[in-house]
């Protein structure tokens, strides 16, 4: 191979880590410290609404995690961007260099590489610990719910259901109400497509998925009016799927709920259970209930999602219904009406299941006939 012999190129020379390396490092460190101080002591309300006055019990935990990541994440960004810009300027090719000069020919540095593998790993392990802690509080920290409500997503509104209230509250016309200081469980599902229930100030969101009942648990900490938004694309008017949430003192909440109940009682008559048709109920059971209850019905302990309903009225081992009431027709109808949430699971209410008055009567007739 005939290759011309040319002199080997020379490396460029400079002192130490490079001109002004430590000065630049000091500036970047100061910027990082300023960033840390800002996130530790400054107000971040302008990016995280309500950060200085948490609206719910988990909001400040989540904000704390956010601040931790902002402190370290921004510091990493400051150092990476700062060094990239500094290196690009400090080590630029100069006309005074020999035209074929090359940079410093180093290939690696196991020590340095070990540091920048181990340090981020330790940081991420710490972050994992902090994240799991907050996750645990979100899952288990709120305690037994003092109020269980239901949210059902529709195109393009939210439907809110309250215990003992036979009519629904709709986001298009009315705000959702929650009492301050009471642990709340919100059961969330959808009647059509996937939606998402989000109150930015509470910091939690949960998808409303058809066929699944999921929940959000939190305790509202302060009163006020907040926006509810659907944050999963749900169709043409997705962006109009907005609601209001009023968090108010318990007394005001109870007053509001009592008012709603009174209005509901004035509006509708109680379901007439005597006209139920067991055969129609059987067909309806296969359609509406069989996703969670065995069909044909089995004894109580043979569960699918919910218990088997074969001996609902005459099971010596379970003389009462799951809500502890005797298995009368009216009490069965009440569960169908309002749904159930308790130690053995959750069942949606009549709105979520799409049951008309006569459907409830037919189902009660069918269930009472099971022996």
């Amino acid at each position: 191979m005939a290759q011309r012999i040319v002199p080997r190129p020379k490396e460029v020379q400079f002192k130490g880590l490079g001109p002004n390396f430590w000065a630049v490092t000091a500036v970047l460190a100061l910027l990082s410290i300023a960033n840390a101080l800002y996130f530790m002591y400054g107000s971040i309300d302008w990016i995280m609404p309500g950060a200085s006055h948490p609206v719910a019990d988990r909001a400040s935990d989540i904000d704390g995690l956010f601040k931790f990541m902002a402190v370290f994440g921004n510091a990493i960004l400051i150092f990476v961007a700062g060094y990239v810009i500094y290196f690009a300027i400090a080590f630029r090719a100069r006309p005074t260099d020999a035209p074929d000069a090359v940079g410093v020919q180093i290939h690696d540095s196991p020590k340095l590489e070990l540091w920048w593998t181990v340090l981020p790993t330790l940081l991420l392990i710490l972050l994992t610990g902090l994240s799991i802690n907050v996750w645990y509080k979100i899952q288990f920290g709120t305690g037994a719910p003092g109020l269980t409500t239901e949210v059902i997503g529709h195109q393009f509104y939210f439907e809110y259901r309250y215990p003992g209230l036979k009519t629904s509250v709709f986001s298009k016309t009315e705000p959702m109400h929650l009492p301050v200081g009471v642990p709340v469980r919100i059961l969330i599902t959808s009647a059509d497509v996937i939606h998402q229930f989000w109150v930015p100030e509470i910091r939690l969101k949960q998808a409303a998925v058809p066929g699944l009942i999921q929940n959000l648990n939190f305790t509202p900490l302060r009163t006020g009016t907040f926006g509810i938004a659907c944050s999963e694309f749900c169709g043409p008017d997705h962006s109009l799927m907005q609601g209001k949430l009023i968090i108010e003192p318990v007394a005001d909440f109870n007053k509001w709920l009592a008012g709603e109940k009174k209005a509901a009682a004035a509006g509708g008559a109680a379901v007439d259970l005597s006209a139920g048709n067991a055969d129609a109920g059987k067909a309806l059971f296969a359609q509406k209930c069989a996703a969670c209850h065995n069909n044909p019905p089995t004894p109580f302990d043979q569960k699918l999602v919910g218990p088997g309903l074969l001996h609902i009225t005459d099971d010596p081992a379970h003389p009462n219904l799951v809500d502890g009431k005797p298995p009368t027709a009216a009490n069965i109808a009440e569960i169908l009406e309002n749904g159930y949430t308790g130690p053995i699971g959750a069942m949606p209410n009549r709105q979520a299941n799409g049951l008309a008055d006569k459907d409830i009567a037919n189902l009660v007739a069918y269930l009472s006939s099971l022996k």
Partner: protein, 573 residues
């Protein structure tokens, strides 16, 4: 040396050179030449990028008014759906694997073509077919449910939704075949002496990408195949009322679509790993760690998909492993970023267009990576999921990472592809337009999202009432988004203008040391008359070239500076 010996034998068997094909159709339309196929991918991808980019501009214009400025909600939903779908499947994947991988990879390993040239040709021709199917859906009202097309809402798209499924299914076949083709090519067709640890880093990245393309795409095909059956034959895979599960689709979709993000980004990593050493006149720092971290990312990418679904119906305990694995993927990514920084240190740095894009990439991609850690944390994600923070994050990764890497690659390999240099003046202006436009467009999205602006909103009246600044920031983003559009327009003009008017490039204008710079520009039909022998890594700038048996008489120490560059930064000598 075992691999070297066996590839050597393969070349002995097929050592003769076929004559180039005759006639326009065999030469330029149904060509089997990987370089021509690379061009075909490039120009098709660039054309679709204009279309999909225009959709994005319509989306941005709509948001200049809280109530929506220019179109109906339905039209807006169609625009962002087509923007996302076309950019992901018809622009990014074809550009970074099809165009760059096809043109560069065989040249870098000293091969005369890919392993299966026919398969390669078919893979390319699927792309325009898929594009026609996707865009023809606009005649049937268009798909509306976002690039994810989650059922049940996507089932409302009817015929257009079925066409969307078809387009994705068909382009998936192309991706899988390209992945297989590249894997076999890299495993079996490296020049003698090119062991795994002497492979150029772009080829390493292409290998990791091909692995993911081959494995992940199948899950997507199954997901959209089932969605197609639900559209057309009403088989209830995803309909909860009839025993299906909407969450199942999300799992299958993200099992592909998370690795897909790495499919875009790994080739960009590869480009940056080539560009930084050349324009710093320095060996890449930590070659092995960069190569292995590509493989680590490719493997970990398959274990993190459900972090897209934290609030979507995942069992709560299942959130934790996905969070921890997602954090873990930050470690190899961090190793890469720190290694690139260390490559700059002590270099002799030239500000070419490619280098500017690579430097910009380091900053914007790091930003996108860090916001990714925020989103990986389950509690914080419960706030951020589905907001503009997510949109900002992934555009920093995709536009600030994958696209910037791609834009660094164009001026770098254009001289090899055409024999002429791209205009540096236009290129550097293009860089500043893109870099400023990118940050101006996507940075404000982060605080808009944290304040409470959900993504995919055709109007934001309630949000603008709560945060009056939102209108200003949305208009700000719209203005800056046109900077990016102008930059891509300038690139297209530059690419066409320079074919005639660019400076003659010569064999090795950058003084680079990978194998493609040892053959003439543009390379002859069969690339290498003689298959070169490799005796070292291509990154040692003070050593003689590690090749023997090359076609041309080469400078032992290829020198940078046959082309003079304007210096963009106002710093003296």
């Amino acid at each position: 040396m075992h691999a070297g010996t066996s590839t050597h034998d393969a070349h002995e068997v097929h050592g003769h050179i076929h004559p180039p094909p005759e006639g326009f159709v065999r030469k330029y339309v149904f060509s089997l030449d990987h370089k021509v196929i690379g061009f075909q991918y490039f120009f098709t991808g660039l054309l679709i990028m204009f279309i999909a980019g225009s959709f994005a501009e319509l989306v941005r214009l709509q948001l200049t008014e809280p109530a929506g400025a220019i179109m109906s909600h339905t039209a807006y939903n169609e625009m962002f759906t087509l923007h996302g779908t076309a950019m992901v499947w018809l622009v990014l994947i074809p550009l970074v694997t099809g165009a760059l991988g096809n043109f560069v990879m065989p040249l870098q390993i000293g091969a005369r073509d890919v392993a299966f040239p026919w398969l390669n040709m078919v893979s390319f021709w699927i792309l325009p077919v898929a594009a026609l199917i996707l865009f023809s859906s606009m005649l049937f009202g268009g798909p509306h449910a976002g690039w994810t097309e989650y059922p049940p809402i996507s089932l409302a798209d009817g015929t257009a939704g079925a066409l969307w499924c078809m387009a994705i299914f068909v382009i998936g076949i192309s991706s899988t075949m390209t992945g297989l083709n590249f894997m076999v090519t890299i495993m079996k067709m490296r020049a003698p002496g090119m062991t795994w640890t002497r492979m150029p880093l772009f080829t390493w990245a292409t290998f990791a990408t091909a692995l993911m393309n081959m494995i992940a795409t199948v899950a997507l095909s199954a997901a959209v195949g089932a969605l197609f059956l639900e559209h057309v034959f009403n088989i209830p895979f995803y309909d909860a009322a009839r025993g299906g599960s909407a969450v199942l689709y999300e799992h299958m979709f993200w099992f592909y679509s998370h690795p897909a993000v790495y499919i875009f980004i790994l080739p960009a990593f590869g480009v940056v790993s080539e560009v930084l050493p050349v324009f710093s006149r320095k060996p890449i720092f930590g070659y092995k760690m960069i190569a292995f971290s590509s493989m680590a990312i490719a493997i970990l990418a398959f274990t993190v998909w459900a972090h897209h679904m934290f609030p979507s119906g995942l069992a709560p305990w299942l959130q934790l492993p996905f969070m921890i694995l997602t954090y873990a993927i930050g470690i190899p990514t961090g190793i890469k970023i720190f290694s690139w920084m260390a490559t700059l240190w002590g270099g002799r740095i030239y500000y070419t267009t490619s280098m500017l894009y690579a430097l910009g990439f380091l900053i914007t991609f790091t930003f996108g990576g860090i916001t990714g850690v925020f989103l990986a944390s389950v509690p914080v994600d419960l706030h951020m999921h589905g907001t503009y923070f997510v949109v900002g994050h992934f555009h920093y990764v995709v536009a600030g990472g994958a696209v910037m890497g791609f834009l660094a690659a164009i001026p770098y390999w254009y001289p090899k592809a055409t024999g002429r240099m791209l205009s540096e003046r236009m290129g550097q202006l293009g860089f500043w337009l893109f870099f400023i436009g990118l940050n101006g467009t996507f940075l404000p999205m982060h605080w808009l999202g944290l304040e409470g602006m959900p993504r995919r909103y055709a109007s934001y009246v309630a949000f603008a009432k709560a945060f009056p600044d939102a209108v200003f920031w949305n208009r700000f983003e719209t203005v800056f988004s046109f900077f990016m559009m102008a930059s891509i327009g300038l690139l297209a003009f530059n690419v066409i203008w320079s074919i005639k008017h660019g400076k003659i490039a010569g064999i090795n204008p950058w003084g680079a040391r990978t194998l493609e710079w040892t053959i003439s520009s543009p390379p002859p039909y069969y690339n290498f008359k003689k298959i070169p022998e490799v005796s070292g890594r291509p990154y040692d700038f003070d050593q003689p070239l590690p090749y023997r048996n090359t076609d041309n008489e080469l400078e032992q120490y290829p020198e940078f500076g046959q082309v003079t560059m304007p210096t963009p930064l106002p710093v003296g000598a």
